[in-house]
Amino acid sequence: MSTLLTDEHKAWIGHEAPPVQVEVSRRDIVKYAIATEQVLPKYLNGGEAPPMFIFNLFGSLKQVSEIRHDGLPRGSGGGPKLPLQRVMAGGTELILLCPIKPGDRLTGVQRIVDIFEKQGSQGPLIFTVQSLRVTNADGETVLEEIQTAIAR
């Protein structure tokens, strides 16, 4: 029984964002590996990206003028403006088909799979579920992800 989500919000379900292309650099992998305190040499020397390197890799890059008060870029979720604005990461499901390596030219396509509301212990919560399909320059699928963001 939804009370916050309108038909306009629900109409975003199925919406696919334009493809985003990313060229993976060894330096970016090394930065991530250091920041997450990896221990395996293949990650620390940037020869391969740790699995969670994918987080926000295809996120929108907005100008400072487009940053909201909470620091997040406007429209960063790829979905509608929600009646609840305090957003936290909810979780991820990943299917890893081949490792990401420096020099990879990846294309990510994000799609809104679901938007729904639940009653939490401290009030209503809105869940936005997005899929991400990542392919390499040969068109092969590198990974598939389902990610959930929770607005409260």
């Binding site: 890799l57 909470d70 305090r86 936290m88 979780g91 991820t92 499901e93």
Partner: protein, 135 residues
């Protein structure tokens, strides 16, 4: 690591994680995440009413992934991974990641593990699971 050496319920090595304001800054810079709840204490506590700087959920996801990748090393690769952030955690906390084997498929050489991040009270803040395929 040999498949024949593994058994259901075998634990994965546990790791302690005590992020600092510096490591959280580095993490958020590396994933290009400007969300203020992960670095701006005044905003986080006064406006969003969190008790302190929030430790990124995806960073805890990374710790869960590391539990697996550090354990497996070059003996195989992770083919599936999932986690959810169930309870917020905050700067100053020491969290523990770990897990155990839940199933072993000899034919496919796949091992399924259940994963957790726990807080000092022993509450699981981020449960997860992974499937590893051994070479």
């Amino acid at each position: 690591m040999q498949l024949s050496d593994l058994h259901v319920s075998d634990p994965l090595p546990e790791h302690n994680h005590t992020p600092t304001s510096v490591t959280l800054f580095m993490y958020n810079a590396s994933v290009w995440n400007p969300h203020r709840i992960n670095y701006d204490e005044t905003y986080t506590t006064l406006i969003e009413k969190h008790p302190g700087i929030v430790i990124d959920g995806p960073l805890q996801g990374d710790w869960l992934a590391q539990c697996v990748t550090n354990w497996v090393g070059d003996a195989g690769g992770m083919v599936r991974f999932s986690y959810s952030n169930r309870k917020a955690t905050h700067l100053g906390e020491t969290l523990v990641s770990g897990g155990k084997i839940t199933s072993i498929n000899q034919a496919s050489r796949q091992v399924t593990v259940e994963l957790f991040v726990k807080n000092a009270a022993g509450e699981i803040t981020s449960p997860g699971s992974a499937v590893i395929e051994l070479l």
